[in-house]
């Protein structure tokens, strides 16, 4: 770990001031990813701004009937929150399928959004990586790339965003509330994370002086018809090869609205609204689900070791939709 200074802040404006004063400073909350990256010398902040004592640790109703998840509520407390379990079970499922109980007790909601890729070349400072050291090249494109992206890649980077929680948040169309030097703004979840393009070192559209204050869930929780399917090398405590968050609104056997978000396949949770629209008014049949899966994965590109993800994702989409549609029948 490099040498750094440490400061503890107790309110949002002090945090914003600290970040605005020193662009090499980093916020620390749970620390489950940042401390690991510092131990590996991938992250070398010269100052840590400890935000844990800022009172952003509550889950509360919003005036529109949704739910506000404080940025500093832990992943565990969010997943087991009574309101989240009842109204947004898709989110609970997604959170509990990630990491371990210990890590979920530490990791915060804001930190989950800000975690970096687990690409092994990003972690290995002896190898070139455009995300870690821009302009050095991507070692994964012609290297071992079993875990890497098949959608939205660029010639600079094929890393995947590793979160499970964020896949559910994408499907639920959460709003990320942030505060910076220029005040507050709301970022729709789909616009929070970026595709790599020519600047893979920038993961999100959060500005350097901005801090996440909450993640707001809209009233619609899809509690009756949802599924989070995670396919991975180990049954527990492993990152997704492919994951699918499916959320449906049903009218009998007909689909009124469908949301699908994919994890493990891209640099951000992957949505395809055109494909989702194809399901509107359709009945629950394997053919209809297969057609949507084909559209979503149409432009997918494999890099050798990870090419299997394209077919795997199609099958996972079909299965997740089936589970979501059949929920009522099963209960």
């Amino acid at each position: 770990m490099n040498s750094f200074s440490y400061v503890r802040v107790r309110d949002v404006s002090s945090a914003v001031n600290e970040a605005a004063m020193d662009t090499a400073a980093k916020f620390i909350a749970g620390g489950t990813n940042l401390i690991d990256l510092m131990k590996e010398d991938v992250a070398r902040p010269d100052r840590l701004v400890d935000i844990n004592r800022i009172p952003l640790n509550r889950i509360e109703q919003t005036s529109d009937g949704g739910l506000r998840l404080g940025a500093l509520v832990t992943n565990s407390d969010t997943a087991y929150n009574e309101q989240v379990e009842k109204r947004y079970p898709l989110l609970s499922r997604a959170i509990l399928s990630g990491a371990s109980a210990q890590l979920r007790n530490m990791a915060t909601n804001g930190g989950n959004l800000m975690q970096r890729t687990r690409c092994y070349y990003f972690y290995d400072t002896a190898t070139p990586c455009n995300k870690r050291e821009p302009g050095t090249g991507c070692s994964a494109i012609d290297g071992f790339n079993r875990m890497h992206a098949v959608l939205g890649t660029s010639e600079q980077c094929i890393a995947v965003f590793p979160s499970d929680m964020c896949v559910a948040l994408a499907a639920l169309e959460a709003i990320v509330r942030v505060t910076g030097k220029n005040g507050d703004r709301n970022i729709p979840f789909a616009d929070f994370h970026r595709l790599p393009g020519d600047t893979p070192q920038i993961d999100t559209n959060l500005q350097p002086d901005e801090i996440i204050t909450s993640i707001d869930l809209p009233p619609k929780g899809f509690a009756d018809h949802h599924a989070y399917l995670k396919v991975r090398d180990r049954h527990s405590y492993a990152f997704a090869l492919v994951s699918v968050a499916a959320a449906l609104e049903m009218d009998g056997n007909k689909i009124k609205e469908a949301r699908l978000a994919l994890g493990g396949v891209a640099h951000k949770p992957w949505r395809n609204r055109e494909a989702e629209a194809l399901l509107k008014g359709r009945t629950v049949t394997p053919d209809n689900f297969q057609a949507v899966a084909e559209v979503i994965m149409h432009d997918a590109k494999g890099f050798g070791d990870n090419t299997f993800k394209i077919d795997l994702a199609k099958r996972a989409i079909v299965r997740a939709l089936k589970h979501a549609a059949q929920m009522e029948a099963r209960s």
Partner: protein, 174 residues
Amino acid sequence: MKRPIEFESARRVTPSPQRTQITLNVNGSEKRLNVAPWTTLLDLLREHLDLTGTKKGCDHGQCGACTVLVDGKRINSCMTLAIMKDGSNVTTIEGLAHNGTLHPLQQAFIDCDAFQCGYCTPGQICSALGLIREGHAETPDEIRELMSGNICRCGAYPNILAAIQQTIKTTKGV
């Protein structure tokens, strides 16, 4: 492929450690400690307080050997900076026995032969204590899933599961 010639960190002069005084309540006794900001809670326990029951396995939050309870919740002490926990209550394996009597979980691990080499055991027991307090695991599958953050290289998992089940059965509110 092009390689970076010079890293920013190589040019930076490392300042001498700034130490900060923190207070931790460790296993019921209050400790005032001077720590550098980069000292992990794990290193603090082992190197500063000689509480070597808590183990360093991977040092990356993957194996669970460093599991302790902070303010009653199980966490990976290797992924926590000690300075972040100023004012907290920390419970380690050394703090579980009471007046010379083993904690029910410790006794259950012995009864069920739930370890071979024993290196992961302090973390397993602290994690199991957290698991029982959280109250989300009843079935064997639920216990397995919620103990997945603790790796046992000897493969004592069936007996670890049995020890936890025994403790859940025989105690309430441990």
